[in-house]
């Protein structure tokens, strides 16, 4: 492998990893956001229930 080929190969490996990390980052954000959304929904549901019970 020549120096130029090495540089190119390193770029390719990096680019592949970068895309994979972006995908993982997006998934992690979705999971965290989904978890908190679920918490918020539970809170709202609990409040609704509380209001209903107060009638």
């Amino acid at each position: 492998m020549t120096d130029e080929e090495k540089k190119q190969k390193i770029e390719e490996i990096y680019e592949e990893a970068r895309l994979k990390l972006l995908e993982l980052e997006a998934r992690q954000k979705d999971v965290i956001a989904g978890y908190f959304k679920q918490i918020e929904e539970k809170k709202i549901e609990a409040l609704k229930q509380e209001i209903t019970n107060s009638f």
């Binding site: 492998m1 990893a17 978890y35 539970k42 809170k43």
Partner: protein, 399 residues
């Protein structure tokens, strides 16, 4: 990296002395490899930074989960598979980049690298110094290449006085083949006419293959062969060689022909019989002492070639008639070579060369009295040893 190149350029403009320029040249050459290291590290750093950011973000959100009415351990379990994937991607990427960075070049690439550097050296006009600079750099950096062969190439190039115009690694093999044949021709004084013919033909073929014409060497070697053998080999065997390999245009063919026809012999005189000249004590003494000298010379050079290359500062490894064992001593001392080896060089002339010369003088006096001019084929060759650096062993100048 660019900054380093800029600095080097500035230094280059400001530097005028040879030592300073040599150092700058080395630094500039090293930049090629540093470029790869820097590129790899830059990418590894970027991947590490990104994964650390993502892990820190996950940790922060996990800590905040309880504050926001959730359960930290629940969120940790949710993101755990992603963090595991992240770890794998990070580790594999670092591993892959490091593998590329440190990958060994292939044999072909080694040659290509060498050719590139050699060609660059030629383009820069720095010739043999640049070749050596590249070679030393390759050794220092552990670049795999055929060091013995390349050093041989450089030594031969220096010795021939041809250091750049016709030679590159591309035709090195052909060139070395021609050198090998040339070397054998140089050692061929005592071979039979048939063997001389065979070697000469190989030499011509190797030179043609390498694209060189060095017929003058062949003609000169033939002249040496004729001079050494006109009174040992019958003229009927020598004349065909002259016709085949003599130089018509240069006039050597005519000279050799006349010499052999005038002074040559029909048959070899029988002088080795019991009681004959070559059965005498004087001849035996001369023969035996020369044999001992050559044995000592051979082991001396074997030992010499085992010491580190830096101690062998002479350009070539020849001990010609014009050279002398004493010539090696200052360099050996200056580089702190082993004392035992220095002592062997110091005592070589006294213990081995001078006794041979004395014995030869005694015998030649006896021969002159006898009137005998022919010599047997085993007549002692008093020439000094020749080491061909193209091969990792020591060879005698003649058989």
């Amino acid at each position: 990296m660019e900054n380093e190149k800029d600095l080097l350029n500035k230094d280059l403009e400001a530097t005028e002395d040879a030592v300073g320029l040599e150092k700058l040249k080395e630094d500039a050459e090293l930049l090629g490899h540093e470029d790869i290291v820097a590129r790899a590290q830059e990418k590894i750093d970027a991947i590490n930074t990104k994964t650390q950011e993502m892990t820190a973000e996950a940790d922060t959100q996990i800590e905040r989960a309880a504050e926001r009415g959730g359960d930290s351990s629940e969120l940790a379990m949710e993101v755990a598979p992603i963090q595991e994937e992240l770890r794998v991607v990070q580790e594999e990427t670092v591993e892959k980049i490091s593998a590329v960075e440190n990958s060994e070049p292939t044999r072909t690439e080694t040659v290509l690298n060498a050719m590139q550097h050699f060609e660059e050296a030629e383009i820069n006009g720095s010739n043999i110094d640049a070749y050596h600079a590249w070679l030393e750099r390759a050794v220092k950096e552990g670049i795999p290449f055929d060091e013995t062969r390349t050093r041989a190439y450089l030594d031969k190039a220096v010795e021939s006085g041809i250091v750049s115009s016709n030679y590159s690694l591309e035709n090195m093999d052909n060139w070395l083949a021609a050198q090998e044949a040339e070397s054998r021709l140089g050692k061929s004084i005592n071979v039979s006419p048939e063997e001389f013919q065979k070697i000469a033909q190989e030499y011509i073929a190797a030179n043609i293959k390498a694209g060189f014409t060095m017929s003058y060497l062949l003609s000169n070697t033939l002249g040496g062969y004729i001079n050494e053998n006109y009174n040992k080999i019958p003229r009927a065997k020598l004349l065909p060689l002259i016709e085949q390999f003599g130089d018509e245009e240069g006039g050597s063919k005519q000279r050799y022909r006349e010499q052999v026809e005038k002074y040559g012999i029909d048959e070899i005189e029988n002088t080795t019989e019991k009681g004959g000249l070559y059965d005498s004590e004087e001849y035996k003494t001369f023969f035996d002492l020369n044999k001992k000298r050559r044995e000592e010379e051979e082991t001396l050079f074997e030992e010499y070639l085992k010491i580190p290359f830096r101690m062998r500062t002479r350009g070539s490894f020849y001990l010609h008639e014009s050279s002398d064992a004493n010539n090696y001593i200052p360099d050996l001392k200056a580089t702190n070579a082993p004392e035992g080896l220095i002592k062997r060089f110091e005592e070589f002339n006294k213990n081995f060369v001078e006794p041979v010369n004395q014995a030869k003088e005694v015998f030649e006096g006896k021969r002159k009295q006898s009137g005998i001019t022919t010599e047997p084929n085993n007549y002692p060759d008093t020439r000094k040893i020749t080491y061909d650096p193209a091969e990792p062993d020591v060879k005698m100048a003649t058989v």
